[in-house]
Amino acid sequence: MAATVRYAEVEAGGQLPLLTVLVTREQLVRYAGASGDFNPIHWNERFAREVGLPNVIAHGMFTMASAIRAVTDWVGDPGAVLEYKARFTNPVVVPDDGRGAELQVSGKVAAKLDDEARTVRVDLTVTSAGQKVLGVTRAVVRLA
């Protein structure tokens, strides 16, 4: 895993490799346990429907964790991420149909920020079932 991305070789507008993430009920149960967020809307279909949701939905933080993989897979070092933010705009609905949901994450280098610090801003677009699920999803990343 010596893959490093060099600041000098990156252009504003450059695309990151596309990332597709499958989200299953099992994944959400695992995430609930690992994160300590046991809100039943993320695993209990009856409860989710009772509070007006179409079905069980993914944790927003699970989606945010999945999206930053487009960046960390690209640069290799998770410590290269200096800033990361997202807005939770639409829920990711995860049906119990043997397939679950699919997240599509695309990213581009929006700007080269600082030649000395070798930092770039990466803008991410995250969709599920053709709908944007995160808004204003941005990371500042230090390159090699």
């Binding site: 993430v21 690992a34 994160s35 999945s66 897979d73 998770p78 410590g79 991420v81 200096l82 204003v136």
Partner: protein
């Protein structure tokens, strides 16, 4: 009843240290489906200059959210948690969280405002290690949705 904006600027005492375990990082990385070997293998982490395995970038949320419970459950503030959804989330890192860290969080109410009948509560968590060094600041906006009557 809307949240009282005079709470803006209020800080809560630092939380007792949370000790970050290697196996907790592995469990979290597996839960988010992230196979980056830096999270599980010391040698892979070492190639990037980390003395211990780092945690995935969103891992600190779990720690800061526990700390935010002080505010969320503060009876004086009176937030109706049954109406709360997560609006947005920011992380600003000095360094990644690493196995062995003992982290303490100081929570600050950064902003309270009303928009379209919804209460917006912005909480900043400054996360420090045992030596007092800054690790990461996490900022979350919680949205308490308007009640039906509004």
């Amino acid at each position: 009843m809307p949240l009282d904006p005079s709470y803006i600027g209020r800080t809560y005492p630092p939380t007792p240290p949370y000790e970050v375990g290697r196996e907790k990082i592995r469990e979290f990385a597996e839960a988010v489906g992230d196979a980056n070997p830096a999270y599980t293998l010391a040698e892979a982490a070492g190639e990037f200059g980390h003395s211990e395995v780092p945690a995935p970038p969103t891992f600190p949320f779990a720690i800061s959210y526990r700390a935010a419970a002080q505010v969320i459950e503060d009876p004086e503030l009176g937030l109706d948690f049954s109406r709360v959804v997560h609006g947005d989330q920011r992380f600003s890192y000095t360094r990644p969280v690493r196995a062995g860290d003992r982290l303490s969080v100081t929570v600050l109410i950064e902003d309270i405002k009303e928009a379209g009948g919804n209460d917006l509560l912005s909480l900043r968590g400054d996360v420090y290690d045992a030596e007092g060094g800054h690790v990461v600041t996490t900022t979350m906006t919680l949205v308490a949705r308007a009640t039906e009557e509004v």
